[in-house]
């Protein structure tokens, strides 16, 4: 009788195991790329992008049909936070289960291309006439450590300072381009004297996450000192003077009470600042990017501002140290990439090509508020009808950028922590810089720090 049980147990286990392995995972139609019916998958995690892409898919599938190719697109609309997307996609890329086309930001692009999860696009790009129309500055920004290009920017942006022209004019404050930070700070102090509030917000601290480095610190740093990343040795130079200058700028802004420190230390700091106080005119100057015209304050944006184009205008970043000139900071680091394990790369590239040309591109740019990285889009509707975006495109041609590589995540974390010390009043500029250096050296490890 006992033996019966043993047999039963073994059979049960074997059957279960067989059943488990037999069940298939998510499906992946096989096919080499463009022969026979093929379905490629693309992942989008922001609602605006989801909407924009789903609009383009029918056009693409039709265009492919005309060329005799049967390519369908499966849009994986996964509305998640950036962190969750990163966690999830990293797992999938490791296991070879990622979607064919990925729409990702700069940090992820750097991290994943270094790890070998993304397919180099050079061979595809060289065969595409569209690539010749991309601004040289953009092409350079897209080239990674190993000299290859891994993603095609879906749009480019310029980061600078957006300000409430109407409020400043009302207060009698000069609205011409401030040449230096000293100039801007004295204007801000005038505003503060009149309103009693905190006139400017620049991302800082840990609550703002990656934005502290990407939309606040790095633009400030790059405008005064482009030597902080050495592409030759692929290391970060933590001793170059720009770092200290920027930390001291943050300290000065905080000590003079010009930044909303309370808000910056709370979760989702962009909400009370960019989405409440700036539209209300209580914060008059905000670090912002081109997308602000649409994504944040446009009529379909998060918090629309009535009469946006009359009330708001932009300044370039003022010069920080002696001899610095005002500048715009370009952000072109992200875009469309192809997963290295995809077995439909050719088809995937067809889709990327389609999204990056003519009307489809124009529509996406207008939807998310980005400038064109191509020089031949200015006449294409609906992009042609957007003066702010066209202006940004012009600014793009003479804006600053610095190509960085491996370790950007760690630098971002260290900067966030160090600026947090300034916000909480625990450190002045120099102390924050020292803490940053120690932290960054620790996080990067010796191979990524310039000796």
């Amino acid at each position: 009788m006992k033996r019966k049980y043993v047999v039963a147990a073994f059979t049960a286990t074997v059957v279960t195991a067989a059943g488990l392995t037999g069940c298939s995972a998510g499906d992946a139609t096989s096919g080499d790329g463009t022969d026979g019916p093929v379905t490629i998958s693309i992942l989008e995690s922001k609602q605006t992008n989801i909407d924009a892409i789903s609009k383009e898919i029918p056009g693409f599938e039709a265009a492919m049909k005309e060329q005799g190719k049967d390519i369908k697109v499966d849009l994986i609309a996964d509305v998640l936070t950036d962190e969750q997307v990163k966690t999830k996609l990293t797992q999938q890329l490791i296991a070879g289960q990622a979607p064919d086309v990925l729409d990702i930001g700069e940090n992820m692009a750097i991290a994943w291309s270094s790890a070998g999860y993304l397919e180099p696009l050079d061979s595809y790009l060289d065969q595409w006439e569209g690539w010749e129309h991309y601004y040289p500055a953009v092409k350079e920004a897209m080239t990674r450590q190993d000299g290859q290009v891994y993603n095609l920017p879906s749009g480019a942006g310029v980061l600078n300072l957006f300000y409430r022209k109407d409020v400043l004019e009302q207060l009698g404050v000069d609205t011409t381009q401030p040449k230096t930070w000293d100039d801007l700070i004295s204007r801000l102090e005038k505003v503060k004297a009149a309103t009693g509030g905190t006139p400017i917000v620049i991302p800082a601290g840990t609550a703002w996450g990656g934005g502290t480095w990407g939309e606040g610190f790095q633009p400030l740093l790059g405008g005064t000192d482009t030597g902080y990343y050495d592409s030759e040795t692929a290391t970060w130079d933590l001793d170059t003077p720009g770092w200290l200058a920027v930390f001291e700028l943050y300290a000065e802004l905080v000590q003079k009470g010009l930044m909303p420190v309370q808000d910056l230390q709370n979760p989702n700091p962009w909400e009370p600042t960019k989405y409440v106080k700036f539209p209300a005119g209580d914060i008059q100057v905000s670090a912002q990017g081109t997308w602000g015209w649409k994504f944040d304050w446009g009529p379909d944006g998060a918090t629309p501002i009535d009469g946006l184009t009359e009330k708001v205008s932009t300044w370039q970043w003022p010069g920080l140290r002696d001899g610095d000139q005002p500048y715009g900071w370009s952000s072109t680091g992200g875009g469309y990439a192809i997963s290295a394990d995809s077995d439909k790369k050719a088809a995937a590239f067809e889709f990327i090509k389609y999204l990056s040309s003519g009307k489809p591109l124009a529509e996406q740019l207008v939807a998310s508020g980005a400038a064109s990285a191509r020089d031949d889009l200015d006449d294409v509707a609906p992009y042609s009808g957007e003066p702010q975006l066209l202006q940004a495109g012009e600014d793009l041609s003479n804006s600053v950028f610095v190509v960085t590589g491996d370790g950007a995540d760690q630098i971002s974390q260290a900067v966030a922590t160090a600026t947090e010390l300034i916000l909480s009043g625990q450190a002045d500029g120099k102390q924050a810089y020292e803490a940053f250096k120690k932290d960054a050296t620790d996080l990067l490890g010796p191979s990524l720090v310039k000796q």
Partner: protein, 313 residues
């Protein structure tokens, strides 16, 4: 999985004496049948990943970045790094503070108080009170964090600020000025029902006759508790301490959604440190090593509890 584990009093009742030896030889197949599937699945989905985690802790594996291409075996380097890192040691210290005040002191004391009160015959509405105290344990971590975010909110409308306004003080940024205190409070809130349940069951096992006898001898309620009740529930108390240590050390979401380990890393308890390293920086090797260190500490604590519980019965 949430990290809350509950073992009711049934566990600590005396174990049935083991089945007589003569049955042993004939019962192995039965054991395999009944326990086999569970054991296999546990090995596959829990043990294997854990073993892999141990392996990873001995390498310098990274999930992204250039270092992801060639992970190397580095032996105990990760451990040496961690044990010398002020960040990690600080994180362990914070975990210790968090564990001690919220679980070992807060939950135990308040849980005991609640258990005693709810066992008094003269309390009405036991069901209602019991349910009220149980609610914090039932809701998922995200919801718990959100509710406390609104309580601790900096603006004058934050619930706690409204309360202190009654006493005339200014609205305070609780999460900035007293972050550790805040998360300790939240964890006590979260776990006291667990303690209450365990102690309620334990208290009911204390024979009423002993208490009566002590009372008749003239002992006050406090003396009765200290000298009669407490020694008898020693076992369950330590079992509870072990379980709450394990679950508190693993608390992640509750704190992360509230403070993200901030401000400035003041509430970066071990679980958050590991999350940051393993997932944010993709330093899986370091993250795994930190997990193992944590495991070792918990095991040591576990042995301590077991020792303390056995001393004198």
């Amino acid at each position: 999985m949430t990290s809350i584990i509950d073992v009711p009093a049934a566990v600590q009742t005396a174990e049935q004496p083991p089945a007589p030896r003569r049955r042993r030889a004939r019962t192995w197949p039965l054991v395999l049948l009944l326990l086999g599937p569970s054991a296999v699945l546990i090995v596959l989905f829990i043990v294997l990943p854990a073993v892999y985690g141990i392996w990873l802790s001995l390498t310098n594996t990274q999930l992204t970045g250039f270092a992801a291409r060639n992970p190397k075996f580095v032996g105990f380097d990760n451990y040496a790094y961690l044990l010398g890192s002020t960040d990690f040691l600080g994180s362990l210290g914070q975990t210790g503070t968090f564990l001690f005040w919220s679980a070992i002191v807060g939950q135990t004391v308040l849980g005991m108080v609640a258990a005693i009160l709810l066992s008094r015959p003269w309390i009405r509405g036991k069901g209602f009170f019991g349910a009220a105290l149980l609610m914090p344990m039932v809701v998922p971590e995200v919801v718990a964090s959100l509710t406390w975010a609104s309580v601790l909110a900096t603006s004058p409308e934050g619930t706690l600020n409204r309360l202190t306004a009654v006493f005339g003080s200014e609205p305070t940024a609780w999460l900035q000025t007293a972050p550790m205190l805040a998360i300790i409070l939240v964890n006590i809130w979260r776990g006291l029902a667990f303690a209450m349940i365990m102690f309620q069951a334990a208290l009911e096992d204390v024979p009423a006759e002993l208490i009566e006898a002590a009372r008749v001898d003239g002992a006050s309620a406090v003396q009765v508790f200290r000298h009669v009740t407490l020694p008898l529930i020693r076992g369950p108390v330590f079992l509870y301490l072990l379980l709450t240590t394990i679950s508190t050390v693993g608390v992640f979401g509750l704190v992360y959604f509230l403070t993200r380990g901030g401000p400035g890393g003041q509430t970066r308890i071990a679980a958050i440190y590991i999350y940051e390293r393993a997932l944010q920086f993709s330093q899986i090797g370091i993250g795994s090593a930190a997990s193992i260190i944590l495991l070792v500490i918990v095991v040591v604590l576990g042995f301590t509890y077991v020792r303390l519980a056995k001393v004198e019965v």
